[in-house]
């Protein structure tokens, strides 16, 4: 239930796109031949890859819904929903669902009354809060008699599961697991059920768990605070400005009613991609999927309108003060895939920061010795909408953030004036090819990759269709893109300043 997988996706995207641009053409063709694609009548898309090194299989389910789709004031809903989907279903985790249902209705009713009262803050009636709190506790205790905790996890774990987890990103919600290959039906039984009949048990205590998650990832983590404030500044209107975990005051009042509506409007088969990779017999696997998922009705999707980010008109600088050593994030707005310039940024990213001989690492960490670390990422914080090219850097004492900032800009200016050499381009491509192939070594990663492109672009073969476009990326493209986007007016700089 981590939510920090965004960056990994970005690396994946980059690796795949790049790999295509290189000599491994035959290899990409092979992959396309190995993927079996099928769409059920209800719109559910299934991708399968058969491989038999080990008697195991990995599954990815992705819904095209993420933090970006939440209403204002409801931030954190997508993420809390992902937690709630581990709480069981009408038939998994219940001792008597009829009785449970009645109590759960009351819990939601009292919980919502309590939240409404607490929302009044200073004007709240303290006596009413106390009595509602007691009433809620009594109902929660009464509920305990009728359900068994964590049955989804228990079933998976007992059957030998690896990597049971889920992620919520700005763009997507994903559930994944690996199992021994004779347990495909167990996966289908659980997942089809939680896609249709989840039960939001222990809603209010899970909301507290998410508050602890925030304390761990953000409030007690200076890097987390910096990143959150950076995004809130780089975007002033588009929902990418909001944290995936949610703003604390929103999390405190997330309610089961909104969550249920959010669930229904997003976890529909026609908004879902499944990828299965491993020791499978595809026809038999498809039959199981058909049996369990085939009758889930297609649903109308009513996505909320998304505010477009207005063009940035000048540099934005923010800082946070924290009991931690200095750190900085620099971001530039840019188009997302499938725009051509996004591919150019993928190339640029490898040239500037991948490997010990990449430009920023070599210059700032080794030669000048001003930085402790420097990383870049193309496609922050998501890829459904226009996104950012981001540089994360930490100065090495006694050097200051200002020193590394200056050095970074010097390197960026060099990209605008001198075209990169063909050897440098080839090096980046070789690295991406190798990364891509290494990534195929794992069933889980391959399932991750193909399901990601399918849900995001609408066709996993997008990667092979873009082969020719990628091949066109030239040193001149890099100069042009650097000149167009890597300019001060389009820049947001966030600094972590050490508290005295």
């Amino acid at each position: 239930m981590l939510n920090n997988s965004v960056k990994r996706y970005i690396l994946l995207i980059a690796s795949i796109l790049f790999f295509i641009s290189m000599h491994g053409k035959a290899f990409s063709y092979d992959l396309e031949k190995k993927v079996i694609s099928h769409t059920l009548e209800n719109g559910l898309k299934i991708l399968m890859v058969e491989r038999h090194l080990s008697p195991t299989v990995s599954f990815y389910i992705r819904h095209r819904v993420g933090a970006v789709d939440e209403a204002d004031g409801r931030t954190g809903s997508a993420h809390l929903l992902e937690h709630m989907l581990f709480k069981g279903t009408k038939t998994i985790g219940t001792k008597n669902f009829r009785k449970e249902e009645a109590i759960l209705r009351n819990i939601a009713k009292i919980g919502e009354s309590l939240d409404r009262e607490r929302m009044k803050e200073r004007g709240a009636d303290k006596t009413r809060i106390d009595s509602l709190t007691k009433e809620l506790e009594a109902l929660q205790n009464a509920h305990k008699k009728y359900f068994v905790d964590n049955e989804i996890d228990r079933l998976y774990t007992e059957h030998g599961a690896n990597d049971i987890n889920a992620t919520t990103s700005q763009d997507l919600t994903s559930y994944h697991v690996s199992l021994p290959s004779n347990k495909i039906e167990l996966w289908a039984r659980i997942e089809a059920d939680r896609m249709t009949s989840p039960v939001f048990r222990e809603f209010y205590s899970e909301r507290s768990v998410v508050m602890e998650e925030r304390r761990q990832r953000i409030e007690s983590n200076p890097e987390g605070q910096l990143y959150e404030q950076f995004l809130a500044s780089a975007y002033i209107a588009h929902p990418y400005r909001r944290p995936i975990l949610g703003w604390p005051s929103d999390i405190l009042f997330l309610d089961p009613g909104y969550m249920e509506a959010f669930f229904k409007s997003s976890h529909a088969p026609n908004n879902t991609v499944i990828a299965i990779v491993g020791d499978i017999e595809p026809a038999a696997t498809l039959n199981i999927i058909k049996q369990y998922f085939g009758s889930i009705p297609r649903r109308a999707l009513n996505p909320s309108p998304i505010t477009k980010e207005p063009t940035q008109r000048g540099e934005r600088r923010i800082s946070i003060t924290s009991d931690a050593n200095p750190s900085m994030i620099i971001g530039y707005h840019k188009p997302a895939m499938p725009e051509y310039d996004d591919y150019v940024f993928d190339v640029l990213e490898y040239i500037v920061s991948k490997g010990r001989t990449s430009r920023l690492y070599k210059t700032l960490v080794e030669k000048k010795g001003v930085a402790k670390s420097i990383l870049t990422a193309n496609g922050i914080p998501g890829s459904r909408y226009q996104n950012l090219f981001v540089i994360f850097a930490k100065p090495r004492h006694p050097h200051k953030s200002a020193d590394i900032e200056l050095s970074i800009y010097e390197e960026i200016e060099k990209m605008k004036t001198n075209a990169v050499s063909t050897r440098e381009l080839e090096k980046a491509k070789n690295q991406l090819k190798a990364d891509f192939i290494k990534n195929l070594d794992s069933n889980l990663e391959l399932a991750n990759t193909i399901s990601y492109f399918e849900i995001l672009i609408g066709d996993y073969r997008y990667i092979t269709n873009h082969l020719k476009i990628i091949e066109k990326v030239t040193p001149e493209d890099i100069v042009r893109v650097a000149k167009k986007y890597l300019v001060s007016e389009n820049r947001t700089v966030a600094n972590l300043v050490k508290k005295n």
Binding site: I36, T56, D149, R215, P297
Partner: protein
């Protein structure tokens, strides 16, 4: 090809629909119960323990090989008996720096910069890591670059140069890393815990900016000479390479390496420390709580029972007791659970939680109660059976890549475990009884021996002194 596959699918789907149309309808109707997932039946899985090939070179290097030709990749790892436990007093961090310098410091025949350029260009990844009681080097290359990769890999291991300029960079980066540890409450807590748990033992001596500063080139060469010789090294080769080729290449690059055995004594096993609650102040709204103590080591027969005990207590997923109680029932933490690390001669058990300052004492009490429970009440047979089943069924994931298979067997030999260890593992787990759990709980988890560290703010401290006796403030070692 694609079209043909689709068509055969359509046919099978049609067939399926005809066969199952009634039950398919039933699946969609929530009024008719779905099959209980516990009652699903599964075909037996055919799993034969994969065997890597083992060869001993004339110079004493032990080689494990496992072929896998699906992807054009070759992975080569070397494991060396060394580690930070051998850091001399006052030069803590030496082993780690030597590892870094093997990777970044060049060789007698190729400069450091030339190595970086070469590896980056053919996209080979080469990393070195150093743990307390071993060191390892890993090379991952595309099949076509095996020779270029192995040339660098072997030169690094047999003829490192430790270039002065690279030593300077590595030391400065390590000192900066140390400076930044306290920025991260979890890193800080786990570092300080080592000092408290191991006391004067080498495992409890940690790098500081002073000790790193004290490491010089001659320390690195001396440390290297002490541990890097053929009889102290095992190599695993896996991937798209035949066994014959692998043997031929390892002989080509390492066969002429002859260096005599050096003698070194293994560091002592840490002694049990007296249990205590330590508090380290940091202005954060969420406390990091860790309780830790020594547990059975790798060759101890109690490991099977202890592994299950740890699984039941806090490492066995959402159902494990600590997670279920602290996260699920109480909503007091996002990250909570337990861990059990097996080392040579001893092990470490720990339980942890991160909770808001206001609930620090409460969460620590719950963890201690849950540990006391497994000492005083017999664990339910069903809970044990579920844990055994989980570990049994998950076992095949220890062999899901070629690299893992080769390394797995190498590590068994490194640890001097019996040849049938892996083959017997599941049976030994299955033989554990509830009374064994209670016995190991009482042997190893006495609350009097628990070394507890809380990193948190003054609210957390006030809570602890109110609820527990003998809470001592400590200063950080950084």
């Amino acid at each position: 090809m694609q079209k043909m596959l689709c068509r055969s699918f359509l046919l099978s789907v049609l067939f399926y629909l005809l066969l199952f149309c009634c039950s398919t309808n039933a699946e969609g109707d929530s009024s008719i119960p779905l099959i209980n997932p516990d009652e699903l039946s599964y075909r037996q899985i055919q799993f034969v323990l994969p065997q890597a090939k083992r060869i001993v070179l004339d110079n004493g290097i032990i080689l494990y090989i496992f072929e896998d030709h699906e992807l054009p990749l070759v992975n080569i790892s070397a494991v060396i008996r060394t580690g930070s436990n051998y850091d001399p007093a006052g030069k803590e961090g030496l082993a780690e720096l030597m590892g870094t310098l093997l990777r970044t410091g060049g060789t007698q025949s190729i400069s450091a910069d030339a190595i970086d350029e070469s590896l980056d260009f053919f996209a080979g990844s080469l990393s070195v890591s150093m743990s307390r009681d071993s060191g390892s080097l890993s090379l991952s290359v595309l099949k076509d670059n095996v020779d270029e990769g192995l040339h660098i890999f072997s030169q690094i291991m047999t003829n490192p140069a430790f270039e002065e300029s690279k030593i300077a960079v590595a030391k400065k980066l390590k000192i900066e890393e140390l400076r930044r540890i306290a920025d991260d409450p979890q890193k800080l807590a786990f570092r300080e815990l080592k000092r408290l748990l191991y006391g004067d033992n080498p495992a409890g001596r940690l790098p500081s900016s002073t000790s790193v500063h004290n490491v010089h080139r001659d320390d690195l060469t001396r440390f290297y000479t002490q541990f890097f010789y053929p009889k102290n090294i095992m190599i695993a080769v896996s991937g798209d390479i035949s066994s014959e080729q692998a043997i031929m290449k390892i002989k080509k690059y390492f066969g002429s390496w002859n260096k005599s055995i050096q003698h070194f004594t293994q560091p002592p096993i840490p002694a049990k420390q007296k249990g205590h609650i330590y508090f380290l102040s940091k202005d954060i709204p969420q406390s990091v709580i860790i309780t830790a103590q020594l547990a059975p080591g790798k060759k101890n027969h109690d490991t099977y029972a202890f592994e299950l005990l740890d699984f039941i207590l806090g490492s066995g997923g959402f159902k494990s007791r600590i997670f279920q109680q602290i996260r699920n029932n109480l909503g007091l933490a996002y990250s909570t659970g337990s861990f059990y690390t097996k080392l040579s001669g001893y092990g470490v058990f720990g339980a942890y939680a991160m909770t808001k300052s206001e609930t620090t004492a409460n969460v620590l009490s719950h963890i201690r109660t849950l540990i006391r429970d497994v000492q005083t009440s017999v664990i339910d047979k069903k809970e044990l059976e579920s844990a055994i089943k989980s570990i049994h069924n998950n076992f095949i994931f220890s062999f899901h890549s070629a690299e893992q298979i080769a390394l797995q067997q190498l590590v068994m030999e490194y640890d001097d475990l019996p040849g049938d260890y892996l083959a017997q593992y599941r049976d030994r787990i299955a033989k554990v009884r509830t009374e064994d759990l209670m016995r190991v709980a009482n042997t190893y988890l006495s609350l009097d021996d628990a070394v507890i560290l809380v990193v948190g703010n003054e609210t957390a401290y006030n809570q602890l002194v109110f609820s527990f006796k003998n809470v001592s403030r400590i200063e950080g070692s950084l």
